[in-house]
Symmetry: C2
Subunit: 231 residues, 2 copies
């Protein structure tokens, strides 16, 4: 093969390149997943984006699954709560939930992976530990703390799961919008009066306000529970 003819610009500097690091790969994978959607993320495409051959990636990740797990965890740097001593714990709770949601929605391609992979990566573990320590610190006991943590996490992940698809790729977003318009225009108003009346608030408008609403419900319940149990 006429390999000598390949120009240096496409050869990605064939002189030893300090090895393609896992972090470079993960970063590129996240960019690709967020831009084109998770379905469009293939090992070949990712490798092409990095200017290497597909099999090169398998030097750093035994499997595509491994890479996906790494992506899910990479997104969770800075997910730990940042309690300020002079703020009410409810405000800290709200803040961490809002920040986590924002982080995940910044990475709509990666968001589905976070729920699927579970909190087994180093960043996820660090954030979990910090959250648990904080909850213990504000007066929840050993039994209550994991329940509270998990409840908040559940709500945030649910909200993201419902929102992220609309952001994850132009194609999917448009397809959803089409389907919804079609439904709302051809739906018999006599059978679905409430759906029609509240359609706008149901799915489209102001997901931020919707998220806040449910979060406040949760926090109200939490506050009550907190004072009931003691501390």
């Amino acid at each position: 093969m006429a390999q000598a003819a390949i120009p240096a610009s496409e050869r990605r500097d064939r002189t030893r390149r300090a090895a393609l690091t896992p972090d470079e790969i993960v970063a590129a994978a996240i960019v690709l997943a967020d831009r084109d959607g998770l379905d469009e993320l293939s090992m070949r495409r990712l490798a092409a984006e990095l200017g290497v051959g597909a099999m090169t990636l398998y030097g750093q990740f035994r499997t595509k699954e491994d890479l996906l797990r790494a992506m899910a965890d990479a997104v969770l740097v800075d997910a730990a709560p940042s309690p300020s001593p002079d703020a009410a714990w409810v405000d800290t709770a709200r803040d961490v939930a809002v920040r986590l949601r924002a982080t995940l929605l910044d990475h709509p391609g990666v968001a589905p992976l976070v729920a699927r992979c579970g909190p087994i990566g180093p960043n996820a573990l660090r954030a979990t530990e910090a959250a648990l320590a904080w909850l213990r610190g504000v007066g929840f006991d050993e039994h209550e703390t994991p329940r509270v943590f998990q409840s908040l996490l559940t709500y945030v992940l649910g909200a993201v799961a419902l929102e992220a698809p609309y952001l994850s790729s132009p194609a999917l977003r448009e397809q959803k919008a089409d389907a919804m318009r079609l439904v709302y225009e051809s739906l018999p108003a006599s059978v679905f009066p409430n759906t029609m009346a509240m359609a706008d608030h149901l799915f489209i408008l102001d997901p931020e306000a919707q998220f806040t609403y449910g979060l406040e419900l949760l926090l109200t319940g939490l506050q009550q529970r907190h004072t009931d149990v003691g501390s």
Copy 2:
């Protein structure tokens, strides 16, 4: 080709079979997805399960995506709330949330699709309409109702998203369990004291109780909101 030699038992009764219906296909797809996991659901395998060729399926569904949407919706028959007139509305709310979760966990292979596809199928729309009508009936106004509905849905879907992977296939369940055991055994207890202390309650034990706990938080908040706003 020696087609005459194919026995009738494998030919699936070549005499006109009243056409393979979409519902048969969807039912078989759900069984397959729940048994082997969503990743194992391919058009070829599904067709083989039904005793037909792969391309036969495309007579009923333009695309695999269409089939997945149909599966997501099929699971939602009976998802509508069943309010009994002499029960408190909070109890009805709890009941519908618990039932939806149970339904989705009965179909761990299909559950991820429900969040991804949105409520655009006929069953989903029927259930949504019924839920909205019920909420209006118990005193939530036009602005509040979709918020409440969406908040409950968010929590249930989040909970299912966190639980379903553990049920969706033996392979994945075992892989997760392995990863978690490994983490919990090789984790430096000095850095992760809280995670270690509460590990059992965090992820493994009694997801049902965990779900109920967060649901009660949400219902407490809802109740307070309900009395604040009026009715």
